[in-house]
């Protein structure tokens, strides 16, 4: 492997930054998402009863979200595995056909010039 080619590739693929405007907007959006009620981190003071209720509600919501995310992640993984399996099937059959073709070529060349190849069929 050419080390020069690899170092050229690394140079070409060096990370590039998005615009400053994008970065500012992103930080603001994420911060806003943090401050929204569903993402409250307990910054505001609450009464103990309200805290307990809020904790239960948050946990329930978190569990639902986690379950949803889990399902989404599982579905995505399933899809990825399926697509990978498809790719492997095609590759396996391609390799098989390639080797069958190799045998065929030998047989074909044997029938035209038997001196070059050992009879095999």
């Amino acid at each position: 492997m050419s080390e020069e080619l690899e170092s050229r590739l690394r140079a070409a693929f060096r990370p590039v930054a998005p615009s400053d405007e994008f970065t500012q907007n992103l930080i603001a959006r994420v911060a806003a998402d943090q401050r929204s009620p569903s993402n409250a981190r307990g910054v505001r003071e609450r009464s103990p009863k309200a805290s307990a209720w809020w904790l239960s509600a948050s946990m329930a919501a978190s569990l639902l979200v986690a379950a949803g995310i889990q399902q989404h992640v599982q579905e995505r993984r399933e899809r990825e595995r399926g697509l990978e399996a498809r790719r492997e099937v095609i590759e396996a059959l391609r390799v098989t056909s390639q080797k069958l073709n190799l045998a065929y070529e030998v047989i074909k060349s044997q029938s035209s010039s038997p001196a070059d190849d050992a009879p095999g069929v």
């Binding site: 399926g82 391609r94 190799l102 065929y104 060349s109």
Partner: protein
């Protein structure tokens, strides 16, 4: 007494899996030594569950996918081990003896044996047949810089495999039925 002994024997044959129908699935070694020496390795292990999963992602409208789907019907497994080396004779025939020995077991018939002095490529193709139907295929391709072993388990439809010509470059096989090779075969 004799009939009693025979009865016991048949019972043993029926009960013991070791005496059941020949197994078209080969036990493929790890080939760790070959993998270490190889510049490229292809290891594909697809059992029935994975084949079924793959089948769900094959597009019936695509000719290649549709042909592949047809082939997959009735298959229970596809196993490929392929190693490419950067020099000749990096592997030895002894490395694949463990596979060849299995193919000399009852049930396997060598369908094709090709030896090319020109390209130094040897290809052996074996079939396992049960009730006049191919139930397993094994292929060993030995080339100077590449070794490939393929084992396909299941109801192989040779006609469909033959029809893959053009999709994967599979050659036309003049095989009417998976019977013993015709005369002039070099054993």
């Amino acid at each position: 007494m004799r009939s009693c002994s025979l009865g016991i024997l048949f019972a043993l044959l029926a009960a013991s899996p070791a005496w059941a129908a020949p197994n078209p699935r080969l036990v493929l070694p790890e080939f760790s030594t070959l993998a270490q020496k190889a510049t490229e390795s292809v290891t594909i292990t697809l059992d029935a569950a994975l084949l079924a999963m793959a089948g769900r992602f094959l597009d019936g409208n695509d000719p290649q996918d549709a042909a592949t789907k047809e082939i997959l019907k009735g298959l229970q497994g596809i196993y490929v081990r392929s190693y490419t080396f950067d020099r000749d004779s990096a592997y030895h025939q002894a490395d694949i003896d463990a596979v060849r020995n299995q193919l000399s077991a009852p049930g396997w018939s060598r369908l094709v044996e090709t030896r090319s002095r020109k390209s130094q490529a040897n290809v052996d193709i074996y079939l396992m047949v049960s009730n006049n139907q191919a139930t397993g295929l094994a292929l060993i391709a030995s080339e100077p810089r590449q070794l490939t072993i393929v084992n396909i388990v299941g109801a192989i439809d040779l006609d469909k495999l033959h029809k893959l010509e053009g999709q994967f470059g599979v050659p036309k096989f003049d095989i009417d039925s998976p019977k013993a090779p015709p005369p002039n075969t070099k054993k």
